[in-house]
Amino acid sequence: MTSLSASPRGLGGDRTLALLAYTAVTALLLIFMRGFVADGPARLLAPVLFGAFLLSLLFAYQWRAAGWAKTLVFAVGIGFVLPFMGRDNTSYFDLVIQMLIFAALALGLNIVVGLAGLLDLGYIAFFAVGAYLWGVFGSPQLGAVTGNPVFANGVNPNLFWLFIPLGVLAAALVGVLIGLPVLKLKGDYLAIVTLGLGEVVRIFANNLDVTNGPQGITPIESAPVPWLNTLAQNLGFSEDQYRLFFLYFLVLVVIAVVILVNYRLDRSKIGRAWVAIREDEIAAQAMGVPLLRTKLLAFATGASFAGAMGVIFAAKQNFIDPKSFDYFQSIGVLSMVILGGMGNIAGVFLGAVVVTLLNLMVLPTLSEVLQQSFPNLNQNLDPSKYQRLIFGLVLVLMMLYRPEGLLPSARRKAEMHADEPAPDSLVTQNQLEGDTGSEVFSPGLSTMKENDRTGSER
């Protein structure tokens, strides 16, 4: 059936030309249509074009094409088209940075849920830890808390660089602290406790003076990078875009590190131990995997990604309050992981992009269009109120028809479809070989059916 050694990519023959053509067409359409002010249903054109262009990056990853063509598509797409769109319309910049931040969160949660199988419903708490860490220190809030006029504008903004690793450490530490008492629990119980602890962090933020309670913290500094600002100025970016320009590239670097760490851990003794724990805790332990330490490592690693992005998120938003870290955010990140394809880095990344695009661009535009099309609609039927409903429907349909996610990992795919006939039928192979197991009841082969589709173990 599914051999893990077989490449999941490589659809058909070489598609270098198709890739270049598609990218060129979508990029040019996107750029030339950017000034097109549409009305009515045509307003949906912008999200469609943007989505179509983002697809070219996916194709560059997915299709079999010459290496130089892939590199070219990535370089032009990430290095030119996206910043160019951002310069023209700041909301694109904001959207793309948000996508990348959520992608890092989803990749962190992917380690916890997708690899180690620990259902964490309070993951956003670690994001909050990073965000509030820099939020407090990088804003006048520090002066207000300490009463020290030296900190009237927070610490030296250059310390932003230090606070990214500090955010990693703080979040990892909180991960271990939360994990230690909690990780003895399994499955549903773990989910409930993490849900509670996630809320505890938010409620702390809501009630403590340090975090300025529900009013939140603003303005939050970002590191000054004069040379990058000069560059941005020369490239025609406006002054209020300098920060986003800087953070865009910073987020790209951080996410590259996140992907590298994720990939390397996945393909090591540690990654194998995580998967083993997810599949069978008792067997994993009996094969020498130290349960608590391995789980804590998953928790801390996942948390640390969120911590780093929390610091950057605070700098990008310029304002944070407890509402940014509520329960729905945790669920949102979880849905990215599941929708994209649990356990697979590219899938999770795609999930984050798709969900963020849906939530921040497609669904709002759609509801505006609907509102315009039916202006006499009752206030209660305002489509903008149904954004979540549509998002929920997308999730439901997805789970019904493609439970393994958009880009599943080979492992998950094998689990989800264990009862379906194999394409290069192994069964017949066994029969040809005669006696091997064919006449014996095989519990090992049939157990997967119970777990089919739910993705849960036992």
């Binding site: 059936m1 020498g288 349960l291 091997t436 014996v440 519990p443 090992g444």
Partner: protein
């Protein structure tokens, strides 16, 4: 001298004494069987040795090292590996990955080694691949190397589980009903494999088994448990003719008859 030394091991669950004052010794490089009727406490006995349960009383030492109070993974490091009565492979891992996972306990790769891909990481990965390749060959599953373990035929899954246990470089391997569900030919293969584990690898083997033909022809020594108590111990022919064993398996009346021949087939 004995490799594994278990003294007065006792474990109760509520009012049930699952293992009662069992003393058990395993000489180095031997093949020992633990038999007994269903519910006799055999698997509980294994779970106590491997640290899954903590004993209420008694001592367990492996080559002089105390095992009581160690976590299961520490017991593996100490040198005891096991297989399970109901196969517990990792279904979404390939045959090779299952063995590499088992090898993990002998590898030193930590978080930073894996992230930085330094020399330790590469040495460990090479070691794990090498171990997998040698052991797949040893149990005769080389052709399944890249196949998901869940796709393997049943008998091969059992062998893979044994290979995974051997990957931990154990001094002692505990096999819990390795022949369960196997046809006679597969059982013969298994018998040869167990002999080779001892002869070629020098690993001591303790097995729980219901297939009496396998037990009688393979074991050097047999321990019989019933209701958690050791009721007999000795060479295969001694145990076979022990009236207490016949009674445990067949009841008091039947024990007077010709137990040996029937039990030789199936118990």
């Amino acid at each position: 001298m004995s490799l594994l030394d278990v003294q007065h091991l006792t474990k109760t669950f509520g009012g049930l004494t699952a293992v009662n004052d069992v003393t058990f010794q395993v000489p180095e490089r031997s093949i020992i069987s633990v038999i007994g009727p269903n519910g006799a406490g055999k698997t509980t006995f294994f779970n106590l040795i491997t640290g899954i349960y903590a004993p209420d009383r008694g001592t367990i030492t492996l080559a002089g090292q105390n095992l009581v109070g160690l976590r299961p993974d520490q017991v593996v490091s100490a040198g005891i590996a096991r297989t399970f009565q109901n196969i517990r492979l990792f279904p979404s891992m390939t045959a090779e990955e299952n063995i590499m996972l088992g090898r993990g306990t002998r590898l030193k790769t930590g978080f930073w080694d894996a992230v930085l891909r330094n020399r330790t990481f590469h040495r460990d990965e090479d070691n794990a691949h090498e171990t997998a390749s040698v052991l797949l060959d040893f149990v005769g599953l080389s052709r399944w190397r890249g196949e998901l373990s869940t796709n393997l035929p049943y008998g091969d899954q059992r062998k893979l589980e044994i290979a995974r246990a051997l990957a931990t470089t154990p001094k002692l391997v505990l096999l819990d009903e390795p022949a369960a569900g196997m046809n006679p030919r597969e059982t013969e293969d298994l018998k040869a494999l167990i002999r080779r584990i001892r002869d070629d690898l020098g690993v001591t083997v303790v097995l729980i088994e219901h297939d009496m033909r396998l037990v009688m022809t393979l074991s050097e020594n047999i321990t019989v448990l019933d209701y958690g108590t050791k009721i007999s111990e000795g060479l295969p022919h001694q145990v076979r003719n022990d009236p207490r064993v016949m009674e445990a398996y067949l009841g008091r009346g039947a024990a007077a008859g010709e137990y040996g021949k029937e039990a030789g087939q199936n118990a």
